[in-house]
């Protein structure tokens, strides 16, 4: 078990290196650099800027060095001192900008994940046990509907409904008075009050996918001979259903955490923009637009690392619940 985890952790290292390289390449892809953006802005503001100044800035930001040196410096900074580089746009170190936003992203994503599990689990079991009944068709349809509705659409509809019918706006994660306040119990309560909207929005699409996976798994399992064999022992239907097929259908369900987490983070990215949540995605979007490369790159790197950690967790859970993998 421990060996397996160690092996998986070792496996992650080349993956992380690849991810960091890809992240860096991607943020290098746009033609020009932050300096162009800045020059354009300054020019728009009517300021004149001399070539000397630009050159000075280029050296200051190490933009004059070859790309691979820039990359190595960036990675070195991250590993040795947790320094993710400097944000040109915010004129602050990246590490001062990202952690709180990433943490909020994670809170929103993970709570959406939990919500989608709690909702999907009973619905899927009900749907599978009552297969081909009106209830099953209805639940399947609702599931498909959730799957087909873009997150931002749902967010817009919720915003519209709450504004028109309840007369309040649902954007953000905090009330204005807590926005800049330091963390306190009251701020957490305030966060929870706001959290439900993104949770519902992001959770919905995930729920639909989960229902489909779990229902189909369960239907497969319900037809297997071991169910008949268990019935032949005289065990009651309800009891054996939960002991055998549901238990076994849950195994692939658990492995879905791996792809659920990136999906949630993706969903969170869009939803955050619509609902103006103070999470990673809006900042990432801004950074991408202004070519604030270290900020954008760090977000990409860290968001992907989150996904890898999610996959690792689901793999470990899988080993815990499936003896067949354990003894391989």
């Amino acid at each position: 078990m421990l060996r397996y985890i160690a092996k998986r952790l070792l496996n992650m290292i080349p993956m992380l290196i690849l991810i960091s390289i890809i992240s860096f390449i991607i943020i290098q892809l746009p033609p020009g650099s932050y300096l162009h953006t800045m020059m354009a802005e300054l020019r728009a503001a009517g300021d004149q800027i001399s070539m000397d100044q630009i050159e000075a800035l280029r050296i200051h930001y190490s933009l004059d060095q070859p790309v691979h040196i820039q990359y190595l410096n960036w990675v070195k900074g991250i590993i040795t001192e947790g320094n993710f580089g400097f944000s040109f746009e915010w004129n602050r170190p990246v590490k001062h900008l990202i952690w709180e936003r990433l943490a909020l992203s994670l809170v929103v994503s993970v709570s959406s994940l939990l919500v989608s599990w709690i909702v999907a689990f009973p619905i899927a079991i009900l749907s599978a046990l009552k297969k081909h009944t009106f209830l099953d068709y209805f639940l399947t349809f609702v599931g498909f509907l959730g799957l087909s509705t873009p997150n931002f659409m749902l967010a817009l509809i919720l915003m519209y409904i709450s504004s028109v019918f309840f007369g309040f706006s649902v954007g953000g994660l905090f009330s204005p008075e807590y926005l800049m306040a330091p963390w306190s119990a009251a701020k957490v309560v305030d966060l929870l009050k706001h959290l439900w909207v993104p949770m519902v929005v992001i959770g919905t699409s995930g729920t639909a996918g989960l229902i489909r996976v779990l229902r189909n798994n369960l239907l497969d399992e319900l037809g297997k001979p071991y169910v008949v064999a268990a019935r032949s022992k005289g065990i009651g239907i309800a009891r054996l259903t939960f002991k055998y097929p549901v238990r076994i259908a849950l195994i692939p369900f658990i492995s879905t955490v791996g792809w659920q987490l990136p999906q949630m983070i993706s969903g969170e990215a869009v939803t955050a923009t619509v609902l103006s949540l103070p999470t990673a995605a809006p900042l990432l979007l801004g950074a991408l637009r202004s070519q604030d490369m270290y900020l954008a790159g760090s977000f990409l790197l860290l968001l992907s690392s989150l996904t890898m950690i999610g996959t690792l967790i689901s793999d470990i859970l899988l080993v815990l619940v499936d003896p067949r993998i354990r003894y391989e």
């Binding site: 498909f144 873009p150 659409m153 504004s163 008949v228 990432l284």
Partner: protein
């Protein structure tokens, strides 16, 4: 795991004495079998009809739409959807009509809004002459399916620039619904290529491709798409942006297909009929083309159908965020961008109508894909 585990006592679930049905089944081609099975899936059949209708609508958009996509109607900003009437106080009319609109300014809120003028009728005529266009890009024509000759008709209202939402939705469908198809075909190509190589040759090649897929998949798609589309040069032509976005979507979309193809190839590679072909001296490319690909094509088509929705959802989301397609290109995502803030939404909730089409399209493809997936396994069940 024991492969037999999936086998159930055949006599129980489906007594295997279905000889008459079997006789028919023995001689049917794979596609016939799929069609028979698919037909039984009512929701999938309905979905198929909806999808076909939507594509026909987009195909004949210039003819069906009463106006051009970029046609601005002065004095008709934020017109709400108009009611088509057959009946009013003046009696019944076989010819549908709408009431003309008059703009008023609410003195309290200082907001403009439209009120219908029920004293006159604007009749709707069919096959009216309007702006000229080229049908299918070839035949010049100016006939429109319907229109109001002495007035305006806005079925779904107008946007902030006084453009007809109904017409724009039809034209937007051309872009939105084709980007999914083109993207999926690109993904199919990449998926077949890399998945096929990976599964067929195995070993180190397989390992490298699998790692790449794993890395690509661990990027959350939307942030990655965001980053990639931010890399598109801002001065790119609309067609360039369209192609760029399509390529970006399929760059990630192929990974799922690639894995699936690899799995299928691995499973089929050692089947008797492939080994038989190899023993009889068939060349490798021929084995791949005439034995491997046909045997899992039906599954691939089903997965493709299920991949199209994610493409259109991605396009819509990106365009909505302002980093996908950009005006003057009309797509459903671009149109939805107008609904981004609460104020616009409050004033003109009909700006969300393109979203309903997105949902309908995705929903239909999900049902279609579901039906195809069941049908792709014609001998199962």
């Amino acid at each position: 795991m024991d492969p037999n585990q999936a086998a159930i006592h055949p006599e129980l679930t489906e007594p295997e004495v279905l000889k008459d049905a079997e006789a028919k089944v023995f001689y049917a081609t794979q596609w016939q079998l799929m069609w028979w099975k698919f037909r039984k899936h009512k929701a999938a059949m309905a979905a198929l009809v909806i999808v076909v209708m939507m594509y026909l609508g987009a195909f004949f958009a210039p003819m069906i739409a009463p106006y051009r996509a970029d046609e601005r109607h002065r004095g008709y900003v934020y017109v709400p959807p108009q009611k088509i009437r057959f009946y009013d106080e003046q009696g019944f009319s076989l010819r549908p009509f709408v009431y003309p609109l008059r703009q008023e300014i609410d003195m309290e809120t200082m907001q403009r809004h439209f009120i219908e003028d029920p004293t006159t009728r604007v009749p709707i005529h069919f096959f009216v002459r309007g702006s000229s266009y080229k049908l299918l890009g070839l035949f010049p024509a100016d006939i429109h399916l319907f229109g109001a000759e002495d007035g305006k008709v806005f079925l779904f209202g107008t946007d902030d620039l006084g453009r007809d939402m109904f017409s724009r939705i039809l034209f937007g469908g051309q872009i939105s619904m084709s980007i999914g198809l083109v993207g999926v075909f690109l993904s199919l190509f990449l998926g077949l290529l890399f998945g096929g190589i990976s599964g067929y040759y195995g070993g180190a090649v397989d390992n490298v491709i699998q790692r790449v897929i794993e890395v690509l998949r661990s990027f959350p798609t939307i942030p990655l798409w965001m980053a990639l589309s931010a890399a598109l040069p801002p001065d790119l032509s609309p067609i360039g942006v369209y192609m760029g976005i399509t390529i970006i979507l399929s760059l990630i979309g192929w990974t799922a297909l690639g894995r699936q193809v690899r799995g299928k190839v691995l499973a089929i590679k050692n089947e008797d009929f492939v080994i038989a072909a190899r023993l009889s001296g068939t060349s490798e490319p021929r084995i791949i083309l005439s034995h491997l690909i046909p045997s899992f094509m039906s599954h691939i088509i089903a997965s493709l159908t299920l991949a199209i929705p994610s493409m259109i959802l991605a396009e819509t989301s990106l365009s909505f965020l302002g980093i996908g397609l950009r005006p003057p290109v009309v797509s459903w995502g671009v149109m939805l961008q107008k609904a981004q803030n609460v104020h616009a939404l409050m004033m003109a909730p009909w700006l969300l109508i393109p979203g309903i089409f997105v949902i309908l399209y995705v929903l239909a493809f999900n049902f279609l894909g579901d039906g195809l997936r069941d049908a792709a396994d014609p001998y199962g069940n």
